[in-house]
């Protein structure tokens, strides 16, 4: 089953995402901020890198957007979904530049989220 790297600075939201994703049968790795996302990506062995990134847009230390920008600069092409509290986080410029596959708005519509993830990981 596909592996998803989930990053959020809120422990409860991280737990919620992890639980729901695991119930759907995904393998989940978690990170508390963008720096941990970078570390996890760098530490992952060849062929064991996540199939999808689910990143909170705003996190202390390093945001999901910043982490994604650095990863794209390193040539990482893993599809990414950005989670944001904003209703219209869909900023067209960064979507193109950072190859963002989609935006997820809080509170999360899980049916919609799962259908996006299914599409991106199949």
């Amino acid at each position: 089953m596909a592996k998803v790297l989930v990053a959020d600075d809120s422990e409860t939201i991280l737990l919620l995402l992890q639980t729901r994703l695991e119930m759907e049968g995904y393998e989940v790795e978690t990170a508390n901020d963008g720096q941990e996302v970078m570390d996890a990506m760098h530490a992952a062995a060849e062929g064991a890198t996540p199939d999808l990134l689910l990143l909170d847009a705003m996190m202390p230390r390093k945001s999901g957007i910043e982490a994604l920008r650095e990863l794209r600069a390193e040539g990482v092409e893993t599809p990414a979904l950005i989670v944001s509290a904003h209703q219209d986080a869909g900023d067209a410029d960064s979507a193109t530049e950072l190859e963002v596959s989609g935006y997820v708005t809080k509170p999360i519509d899980f049916d919609q989220l799962f259908s996006s993830i299914k599409q991106l990981t199949s």
């Binding site: 939201i13 509290a85 209703q87 509170p107 999360i108 899980f110």
Partner: protein, 389 residues
């Protein structure tokens, strides 16, 4: 100075008159003495001559005084005319020096009233108009300062709403998310626990709706409510909204009728936002109408626009409430709102959104018979040529 001449003239006239009267009185006195001498028979020839002399003298005095009076009157008249002319000249000068600043004041007041808070006048002219100008400028500066403060407060309020709505979203995501998680195991809950959970979820959704509405309104106030108009077909949009509502209306045994005219031109709208407006109108009709009510969504072309209306045969809206219905936090009858889950913001947002599209929104209602909400939306054909020019 010329007026002074007139005053001098009048003074001289009065003096001449006094001299004339004194001389006349003296002449009469001399004539009477002469007549007494004549009556006594003393030097009658001399007395008669004296009487004639005095009569002649008075005649001369009278001639003199009328001549003098005429001269003085001429002098006084000339003085007065000269004085008046001078005064008039002085006055027209005065008016001219007042008119410019006053005209400027009128013009600046007009600009200020029209919202140009930069409007000021040049202070000048007479002391009075200068004072008026200074007062006006002080007032305008104060208005501008207060408007600045108000704008700052508005901005702070909008930022606060955006931040608050943002910050509330994370805990709300957790509450809703974990409640949904629990709901996934509904079969393991007692019916009472399931009902309780249902209530938690209902209220969470209501909170989310409220947050979204508040955010939309704050954006609208800050002029940051944006739309992305694209060519949009009416029928599929209406069909989608009706499909979304079908479950709720069927649960209430309400009849939901879709009546879209054929061959409607494509709209020039942001489909997400118009869907939001139509959902709001249909949700209102559904929530305010009793069971078995009928709700009809129609669309037809009117001139260069398309009118979409939502008509119900519910309780209607009293005239007093109808005029405030598009204001925020205005809701229908309090007795009804007990079971109605609205935020009181939906119609205010719908109005902002429709107007942002260049359309109109309106409501009519007959209490006891039902209500009709109409929106008009621009069509692609009507908008494109306008943009091309």
């Amino acid at each position: 100075m010329l007026t002074g001449l007139a005053v001098i003239g009048v003074g001289r006239f009065l003096q001449q008159r006094q001299d004339f009267e004194n001389a006349t009185a003296r002449s009469y006195q001399l004539e009477i003495q002469a007549r007494n001498r004549l009556a006594r028979g003393a030097h009658p020839e001399a007395a008669r001559a004296a009487i004639l002399t005095q009569q002649h003298k008075r005649q001369k005095l009278r001639d003199d005084i009328s001549g003098q009076t005429r001269d003085t009157a001429l002098l006084v008249g000339a003085g007065l005319i000269a004085g008046l002319t001078g005064a008039a000249l002085l006055f027209s000068g005065l008016i001219a020096s007042m008119r410019r600043p006053l005209e400027e004041l009128v013009e600046a007041s007009g600009r200020l009233a029209g919202g140009d808070l930069e409007a000021r006048v040049q202070v000048g002219g007479l002391a009075e108009t200068a004072a008026l100008g200074t007062a006006f400028n002080e007032m305008a500066a104060e208005l501008q300062r207060r408007a600045g403060e108000r704008d700052q407060l508005e901005t702070m309020k909008d930022e606060f709403v955006v931040t608050a709505s943002h910050e509330l979203r994370s805990p709300l995501t957790s509450v809703q998310g974990f409640a949904e998680l629990l709901m996934l195991e509904r079969d393991k809950l007692t019916p009472r626990q399931a009902d309780t959970l249902e209530i938690i979820l209902d209220n969470t959704r209501h909170l989310v709706r409220l947050l979204n509405d508040l955010l939309d309104l704050a954006r609208s106030d800050a002029g940051r409510l944006t739309i992305k108009p694209v060519p949009t077909e009416v029928a599929p949009l209406v069909a989608e909204v009706v499909r979304t509502m079908r479950g709720q209306t069927e649960a209430a045994e309400q009849v939901l009728v879709e009546d879209v005219a054929g061959g409607l031109p494509p709209l020039r709208v942001d489909p997400d936002r118009i869907r939001q407006v139509l959902l709001n109108l249909l949700t209102n009709a559904h929530e305010y109408c009793p069971e078995r009510a009928s709700i009809r969504v129609s669309a037809q072309q009117i001139g260069a626009e398309v009118e979409v209306s939502v008509k119900d045969d519910g309780p209607g809206i009293p005239a007093g409430q109808l005029e405030h219905i598009f204001e925020r936090f205005t809701r229908g009858d309090a007795g009804l709102t007990q079971r109605v889950g609205g935020t009181g913001l939906g119609l205010a947002i719908s109005k902002s959104l429709v107007e942002l599209h260049g359309g109109t929104i309106g409501a009519e209602s007959v209490p006891g018979e039902g209500s009709t909400f109409r929106i008009t939306l621009p069509t692609e054909a009507a908008v494109v040529p306008a943009e091309a020019t």
